[in-house]
Structure formats: C-alpha cells, structure tokens
Symmetry: C2
Subunit: 310 residues, 2 copies
C-alpha cells in the first residue's frame, strides 16, 4: 500500500505547489483522492498510470480539490480507456461533469459510476477485493468528508517449506483459515501454527481534508497507520484557521495523538508560507511521528505488527 | 500591443506543454483569449498580472480551451478583485461557471458580465476605448469562433517642437483631427501636415483556434498584422486533421498567404510531435513569415506602416 502525494497546496495558487491530490495504490488498483487543477499533469510528471485508476474520491467541491477531474477524465477518454471508473463525491459533482461533457459533445468510451457521498455520516461507502472505504464526516464551509481506507483482514500465510506433501486443496484452504490438519477421525496431525504464520495486520490510511479542528473524528480513525490531516495554518493563526474552517499544525497533531495513529502526514499549506519546516516543529510538540507531504514523493504504508488473524 | 503565449498544446496533455491561452495587452488593458487547464499557474510563472485582465474570450468548450477559467476566476476572487470582468464564450459557459460557483458556495466580490458568442456570425461583439473585437466563425466539432482584435484609428500626432505658441485647446484638438490653423477670416496660417504627423496604423490580431481549413475566413482577416492559426498536424496527416476538424501547418500558411497577413503564429500542436521545427519548415513553403508559438514568450505586434488617418 503506497501513497503518492501530488499536491500540497491550498486554495490560493502558488507556483510549484499543486492543489490537493493523493494517489493510493495497492497491488491491484489505484485510487485517486481529490483532484485539484493540474493533477493530470502531476500524474504525467511523476510517470504514474492514469489507466490504473479505478476509483476517484472527492472530498468536497472547493476548486482546489476537484477542478482537475474533468480534464483527467477527458484525457482518459482520449487515451481510449474502456474500464469502468467509479467517482465518489458530494452532491453536485455528477451534475457539473455531465454538463461539461454535454457542452464539449463528449461521448465516453467507458462507463462512469457516480456515487454521491453523504458527507454527514461515518459509514462504509464501498469495498473492493482488498479494501473497505468509509466516509469521515468533516466540518468545513461546504459539505465535506474524508475517507478511511482499510485493508480487509487477510488469511494466514502458509510457510511453504514446512508443508508436508500430499495435502488436498481443501486442507490448504483450511490452513489459511486457521484450521489444523486432522485425519478422518479428527485427530490432529499438524497444528495450524506449525505450518502457517499470521497474516500481516491490515493497513489503513485516513484522509482528512478540509476541516476545522474536529476531535469527534478521533474514534473513527483510532489507530490508523497513516493519517493525512490538513494543516493550512500554524497555530499563531488559529483564529483565522477557525474562521475559514481549517486546522492548524498543532491541532492536527492533537488529533493524531488522541487517535493514536502511527504516522501523521501534513499538507494543504496556505500560500502565505514559503518554508514549511515550522509545521513539523509545531506538530512535533504534541506528536512524534510527523511527515510533511512532498509533491511527487511516494510513502509506503507498512503493516506495523502481525496479528493472529483468522 | 503585446501578445504573450501561455499554452501551445492541444487536447491530449503533454508534460511542459500547456493547453491554449493567449494574453493580449495594450497600454490600458489585458485580454485573455482561451484559458486551458493550468493557465493561472502559467500567469504566475511568467509574472503576469491577473488583476489587469478585464476581458476573457473563450473560443469553444473543449476542455483544453476553457478548463482553467473557473480556477482563474476563483483565484481572482480570493485575491479580492473588485473590478468587473467580461467573459465572452459560447452557450453553456455561463451555466457551467454558475453551477460551479453554486456548488462551492462562492460569492464573488466583483461582477462578471457573461456575453454569449454567436459562433456563426462574423460581427463586432465588443469595443473598448482602444479596440474593436469581432467574432470569426470557425468550423470545428462543436460551436467555435475566433476573435479579431483591431485597434481603433488614432488621431494625428502633434509635433510639439514645431508648434507655434498661443494656440487654443480647440485649435490643438483640430490639429489632431487633421484641420489646418486658420485666422478668423479662414485664411490658413499653418497647414496641418506642417505641425502633425500621421497616426500609427491601427494594429490587429486575429486568433483562430480550433478549426478545419476554412478559406472563407480570409476576407475578414485580410491584412491583419498577426494571425494566430491552429496547426494541430503536419500535412502528411491532413486526412486525420480534417476528420478531427483541425488544420495542418501547410493549410494555416495558405490562409495566411491568401489573407496577406504580416506574421503567422502557429500553435495547438498535437501531442504526437516532440520537435516542432517541421511545422515552420512546412508552413514556410507557402508563407514567409512564420513564428512557432513558444510558451512564456511575448511578441510585440507592431504597426507596419503609417497612414493619413484623419
């Protein structure tokens, strides 16, 4: 599970700082989260593959979070994409895209499935073979939600070199489920944990942008591996942050600390800041493991421990 | 009168090649012509002033010609613009922008005047203090027009060092209009051309993108100083060009030659071409003064001769 950051900026444009877009990739699929203006050029720049994107999640309809979407989807069409695309966003997004396709007389070679987010509910909104996705209600100036991506629990892993010969497919499946190998009378021949090891802990990524400091998200995102949280301002501008329904670096760190996440990723920096180092320093006052998002950088979201899943 | 090219690409995105946008500046005003995705970042990159843009002309609603508009206008609003903005575009543009403003709950601090282009008529659609603007009907896959910007004729210029003392304001105004200085009985004291020189010839710029080869625009753009004409393909792909309602470099040069323009500026190059030199070589087979548009470059549109205006 890897996360590539494509934009760290906020609403006011800054040269060499793109608006929000994150690309989450697993073994089988790519998921784009937010898609500010110019995201398709960032995808080109960092040699990523738009054809692999099957899901796009849009947090809210401020321009710095979705204005690149119509261009990206149009380019997918020019690139002769035929795979279905699922787009999740607030009410209004489907109408905007549909109107733009009408005006440009665009006929898509692939099907778009629009899914309207209920931005007020924390609920599972989708699942893929590998992941579940939940909406995280946020509090911003317009309807907005974050997204929580969790790997589904995986089965136990067979240790091939320890396997006795002659096991049936059913017995191998049973091992992955945690069963012992027994003879026909039910006597245990091989204990499960002699032939298997626990699955990796499911990894998780929570994306929270944009929002005022909102501690009631803590329960839902408790213990996630990586938390991306917006940090538009430093804390000396907390009043301005709250007026604009944004969060400070210190507050984002408080959320991370309360939720007991493993790593906090900060982004959505206001255009007023040139150097960003102070965001890390400030956040580290209350939470140790703080990463400042960098454009084009790919972060590996690792399992932090193993469990006896299954 | 200066023209800054902000994008030379076409629909399929290419790294380091932006979609169409031209900025035409006169002494008093800036005019943006088309506004592909990322135009506001090009404006930042080349240190241009979005606050000076009073007019935006959109040729048609293919994404590579207008998707940057909503972001640019939103950023003008964040920048606390208060000056009115005039946007000219085909039917649908106002609806798209209005819907996007609604969804983002944006309240503008300035007034936008939307003007719907009749893309089928060659007619004057606006005038400023210095310019008249005409629509140029083009033939593309969706409604599309170009724009012809002409300076208004200026008055004769007084040669200050030759002026006799004691002339009244009315006499000076008369000189600019081409009148002689006479005494009260009507006897000529000073011939006009002894005290004045002709005005500069009004300059003109024609912007033609996107279109299939369309020789019936020749009459309207006859003799313009600079003609920008799209040249999406080289002529060995003329069949493909026509299927997509585009023009080849050779055809653009034929238009320039037939219209007797002074300079031909080529752009809107297909993503299939890396090097662009061949576009110039091909066009120069039929027209001498060919310029390949370069992003960030500013071209001065000069008066080519003086007339006895007035």
């Amino acid at each position: 599970m890897k996360l590539t950051v494509l934009g760290i900026g906020s609403a006011t444009p800054v040269l060499d700082r793109n608006p929000t877009a994150h690309l989450l990739t697993t073994e089988h699929e790519s998921i784009l989260i937010d898609c500010g203006e110019g995201t398709q050029y960032q995808i080109l720049k960092y040699k990523l593959k738009p054809s692999k994107i099957r899901y796009i999640f849009i947090s809210h309809l401020h321009g710095d979070h979705y204005l690149g979407l119509i261009g990206l989807v149009s380019s997918m069409n020019l690139g002769r994409r035929t795979d279905d695309l699922h787009i999740f966003g607030p009410r209004g997004l489907a109408e905007i895209l549909t109107l733009q396709f009408q005006c440009s007389n665009t006929f898509l070679h692939f099907k778009i499935h629009f899914h309207e987010n209920d931005t007020e509910k924390a609920q599972q909104i989708w699942q893929t073979d590998l992941l579940t996705i939940e909406s995280i209600p946020l509090s911003h100036r317009i309807p907005c939600c974050g997204f929580l991506f969790r790997e589904k629990p995986q089965k136990r892993k067979i240790i091939k070199e320890l396997l006795p010969q002659g096991l049936s497919i059913e017995q191998l499946k049973g091992l992955k489920e945690g069963n012992d190998i027994c003879d026909i009378e039910g006597k245990v021949l091989y204990k499960n944990d002699a032939l298997t090891k626990p699955a990796d802990t499911p990894r998780s990524y929570a994306f929270c942008s944009d929002t005022i400091y909102k501690p009631d998200i803590v329960e839902q995102i408790s213990g996630v591996d990586w938390l991306y949280h917006e940090a538009t301002y430093l804390h000396n501008l907390v009043k301005q942050a709250h007026e604009r329904y944004h969060t400070t670096a210190l507050e984002a760190a408080q959320i991370a600390q309360q939720a007991g996440v493993k790593t906090l990723l900060l982004g959505h920096f206001s255009s007023r800041y040139g150097s960003l180092q102070e965001f890390q320093t400030e956040a580290q006052q209350v939470f140790g493991n703080v990463v400042l998002a960098e454009e084009g950088k790919t972060y590996e979201i690792k399992s932090t421990k193993t469990t006896n899943a299954g």
